[in-house]
């Protein structure tokens, strides 16, 4: 029971401490932090509209946080959730605006989401292939692929996927039937992301394939002796993670923006890593963790509006959360410890 309490208390302490340090940074830069904090809290949850915004912002963070948690649990350092999100959004936009009929019914949303997941999975699998076949460290390849995906989206919305009037760098709007149904601005992506968390938790902790993935993450050489292939399972982990991140891109597209444009991603990709680490890589704990960072992102907008504090301040909080999560004995974070670099891996 005591252990349980500690496990629960330490992430909360990390979250609070990081906000405390960020307040210190704001003070040092000459801002008045109290008014800012008040604006932050009000903007994150002070009204029903604020709550809606927080849930909207939490949804892609939940899906990308799951992507990172899943791959880290499997000993794969996927830093590419942002690129995979964009790849998913790109694939979903292509299917929605080029293949699907403009006047189709509500069934259109299904192929859009599937295309997003497949696009992200393909992008993740690309890093997996580079790792398995060419020995390229997934750390570097996923980071570089983030930059590639961002430029691919930029190219698509100025070129082949640009809107018909060719006025702005954005895609055509999605057909009406391809949009996620919404209830009072809360779209179906919110419960979908929650279900994804349950599925990932089940997959990782309760299935044979989840066991193999964890075994490879925990002790790759021992797993190899047991007949498992760290290369193949690593590629599978990257593809699954990419699928989740790509689904996040499709959900953002079909739930919120309705069009593809630059800056669709909820935050410079690393946010997902903070989400996963604060949750200590447990899929179900990613739910409250994503809610925390979603609230932070939403509140930061109000803070910028009302207290003139740039919302990039949230990235400082994210960075500190990561450091506190891995740097202190906050329970034992089950990152892959026995990490044997294969030949040439950096």
């Amino acid at each position: 029971m005591k252990e349980r309490l500690r496990v629960l208390a330490s992430p909360i302490a990390a979250a609070l401490a990081s906000i405390g340090i960020a307040v210190g940074v704001l003070l040092a830069l000459g801002h008045a932090p109290l008014g800012a904090l008040e604006a932050l809290v009000r903007g994150a949850g002070g009204s029903p509209a604020a709550w809606t915004g927080t849930l909207q912002k939490s949804t892609p963070l939940l899906l990308t946080g799951l992507a990172v948690a899943l791959s880290f649990r499997c000993g794969v350092w996927n830093i590419g959730a942002e690129g995979q999100l964009y790849a998913g959004a790109l694939a979903a936009t292509f299917v929605a605006t080029r293949w699907l009929p403009a006047d189709g019914g509500a069934w259109l949303v299904a192929p859009v989401l599937v295309a997003g997941a497949l696009g992200g999975a393909g992008f993740g699998a690309l890093a997996g292939w580079l790792r398995a076949a060419r020995g390229v460290s997934e750390v570097i390849s996923t980071i570089l692929l983030n930059f590639v995906a961002i430029q691919l989206v930029a190219y698509a919305i100025q070129g082949p996927l640009q809107e018909a009037p060719r006025a702005y760098p954005q895609s055509d709007p999605l057909p009406h039937g391809a949009m996620l149904p919404a209830l009072d601005r809360l779209h179906l992506g919110v419960p979908l992301a929650l279900i994804a968390a349950l599925v990932v938790a089940f997959l990782i902790d309760r299935t044979a394939v989840g066991f193999r993935l964890r075994a490879v993450g925990h002790a790759p050489e021992a797993a190899r002796f047991a007949g498992l292939s760290p290369e193949r399972l690593g590629t599978l982990a990257l593809a699954l993670a990419g699928g989740l991140a790509g689904l996040a891109g499709a959900v953002e597209l079909a739930g919120m923006t309705g069009r593809l444009y630059e800056g669709l991603s909820p935050g410079p990709g690393y946010t997902a890593i903070a989400v996963a680490l604060l949750a200590r890589l447990a899929p179900l704990a990613v739910i409250p963790s994503a809610l925390f960072f979603g609230a932070l992102a939403n509140g930061a907008l109000a803070m910028q509006r009302e207290a003139a504090i740039p919302s990039v301040a949230t990235q400082v909080v994210q960075g500190i959360v990561i450091l506190l999560s891995v740097g202190f004995a906050l329970g034992r974070l089950s990152l892959a410890r026995e990490r044997v670099p294969s030949e040439g891996e950096a």
Partner: protein, 302 residues
């Protein structure tokens, strides 16, 4: 031809400084993917101090100091707390991106000023040397300094006792420890020196290349430097050759675009990253990393 060589060297120099820093860190057994954040911190500190004091020299000093300071945060977590190096490096990148963006908008609310520029070294005769004169000595002193630094790093690692200990820590930390080498001290020292190099690499972006600072202006150069270390097979001369290859490719790309080659701009921007991936896919298999790279060393662990 002269102009192309000059451009190639100019574009290669920040990559080379960053790669030399990362090389030193990795030869001691630590991967610092926070190098991108260290560069960005160095770039901002150099910019802010150079603008305030109107002295680019002080700017460079500030860039190096700020990068080393953040590097020490990284060192504390990865060496003394044995935290995972990839994760802490990511946190350093996030912190740097957030803190520099926040500081930029807080310190310069009225708009981003121009930075004073580091002028060329005025050593009579050198700039008029045939072929390499202008390329090496015509522009900023960073270019010749980076080449001199390459030789120093190469000699240090290959020919000095300290360099031998440094490599021993990266290859077999436990054996080095048994021989009386202080593993933690060497690694912290390596991270500090590596951060200083990253600071120079960052400082030269606002003070010698674009004359101003913009958010996230390092644009992945630190990550490309990580790839250059692999491509350069963990040796200084190899890193210089790899950095020059990247510089030359980028210079050539600019040249072709200026001549009106019809490549859509975003695809041109993606080229360095695709090129880096392609180079890694070809070169990684044949390079050998230091054996203990990425492994925290705990004395009591067996």
């Amino acid at each position: 031809m002269d102009a192309l060589l000059e451009a190639a060297l100019r574009l290669a120099t920040p990559l080379l400084f960053a790669a030399l820093g990362e090389l030193l860190v990795e030869r001691s057994g630590v991967v610092n993917i926070g190098i991108e954040g260290l560069m960005l911190t160095g770039a901002f500190a150099a910019f802010a101090v150079a603008v305030t004091t109107a002295s680019p020299g002080l700017g460079v000093a500030a860039g190096v100091s700020a990068s080393v300071a953040l590097g020490m945060v990284f060192a504390w977590f990865v060496v003394l707390r044995s935290a995972d190096q990839i994760v802490v490096g990511t946190a350093v990148n996030l912190l740097a991106l957030g803190a520099t963006g926040l500081a930029l908008r807080s310190l310069f609310p009225g708009g981003i000023p121009a930075a004073p520029v580091v002028g060329p070294l005025e050593i009579p005769g050198l700039a008029s040397l045939p072929v390499v004169g202008t390329a090496l000595f015509g522009a900023t002193p960073f270019v010749p300094t980076s080449l001199a630094a390459t030789l120093c790093v190469a000699l240090f690692l290959a020919r000095t006792r300290a360099g031998l200990r440094w490599r021993a820590v990266g290859e077999v930390a436990r054996a080095a420890d048994a021989e009386g080498v202080r593993v933690a001290a060497v690694r912290i020292g390596a991270i500090a020196v590596g951060a200083a190099f990253a600071g120079i690499a960052g400082a030269m972006l606002p003070l010698a290349q674009s004359n101003t600072f913009s958010e996230g202006m390092t644009a992945g150069r630190g990550f490309i430097a990580l790839a250059i270390v692999i491509f350069g097979r963990w040796n200084a001369i190899g890193c210089a050759a790899a950095a020059l290859f990247f510089g030359a490719t980028t210079a050539l790309q600019f040249r072709l675009q200026a001549r009106g080659l019809a490549v859509p701009y975003p695809l041109a921007l993606a080229l360095p990253y695709v090129l880096t991936l392609a180079v890694l896919a070809i070169a990684t298999g044949r390079a050998r990393a230091p054996r203990d790279l990425g492994r925290p060393y705990r004395r009591e662990a067996h």
